[in-house]
């Protein structure tokens, strides 16, 4: 199965979700600023890379974990994905789309804007990380629901 965590720019929330899924971040406590800052691809994706889904890693069950920024064109991009899958006869159950943006708060949005749009990387990164720490339990719940779904999927 492919799990695709998506958000606006594939810089913060989707990357954090994928990192939690792959065990790169703790699931029993809130990670520190340094731990979050050092996860692969955190706050790195450039504006011109929005839209490209990229492979973040493979989990211990062999599922491919992707991350993608949809740039606010979620409806079009998701429908494009469905149309491609229908065209090539790929069953819809082969991919699980997870909207990581649902878990973000105002601090993550402000931090992301400062860092990615205005180029104020240091303050932007710090603010977004603090926002992610505050929302961390929500991200944990989302990832756990994804894992539960995958477990049920393989039981069937």
């Amino acid at each position: 199965m492919i799990v695709l965590y998506h958000c606006y720019g594939a810089a913060h929330s989707s990357v954090l979700s994928a990192a939690i899924h792959l065990g790169l971040l703790a699931d029993d406590r809130i990670p520190g600023i340094k731990e979050i800052r050092e996860i692969p691809y955190f706050d790195r994706n450039k504006t011109e890379e929005i839209g490209i889904p990229f492979l973040y890693g493979i989990d211990k069950w062999g599922n491919k974990i992707y991350v993608q920024g949809m740039g606010g064109s979620d409806r079009i991009v998701i429908n494009l994905l469905k149309d491609i899958m229908a065209l090539y006869g790929i069953p819809e159950r082969e991919i699980l789309l997870v909207n990581a943006l649902e878990n973000v708060n105002i601090l993550v949005r402000i931090g992301g804007f400062l860092s990615r749009r205005l180029g104020l990387v240091f303050p932007g990164r710090v603010i977004s990380i603090i926002g992610l720490q505050l929302a961390y339990p929500k991200f944990l719940r989302t990832v756990q629901r994804v894992k539960d779904y995958i477990a049920k999927f393989y039981e069937m």
Partner: protein, 139 residues
């Protein structure tokens, strides 16, 4: 690797008769403007209810023709298209025809009018827009 499929994709920002008009203009030479436009409007109405982003048209043709309705953020959608094909291991080989430059303000206004429920005025606006393109290409 999944099977390679050669595609021709018309890229536009919104659904309109324009890609069908351009298809007939490029692939059905020798016809008059009115013949082309009438055929285009018929096909536009035929495919309208499918509401897809990547719409397969004219399946009887040997070329595999698609319309990609990418919205305003074309780069995002095109990068997503390439990324998804790569993600599924599809060896794609497509030719992209970006027709969004032909989507002038008349076309966009017509689309907006259709959405609010008007019927004949949008068609007249589409016709005007297509006629401008027809004249430019024929000249």
């Amino acid at each position: 690797m999944r099977e390679e499929i050669k595609l021709i994709i018309f890229l536009c920002t919104g659904y309109s008769p324009l890609p069908f008009f351009l298809f007939y203009l490029f692939f059905a030479k020798g016809k008059s403007f009115n013949e082309i436009f009438s055929a285009a409007i018929m096909d536009y109405r035929k495919y309208k209810e499918e509401k897809k982003v990547l719409l397969r048209v004219y399946p009887e043709r040997p070329e595999k023709l698609f319309i990609l309705i990418g919205g305003r953020k074309k780069r995002v959608v095109l990068q997503a298209l390439d990324g998804y094909l790569k993600m599924f291991g599809i060896n794609h080989n497509y030719q992209l025809l970006d027709i969004s430059r032909y989507e002038k303000s008349c076309c966009k206004l017509a689309s907006l009018m259709e959405r609010v429920g008007l019927k004949s005025l949008p068609i007249n606006l589409y016709k005007y827009s297509c006629r401008q393109i027809y004249r430019k290409i024929k000249d």
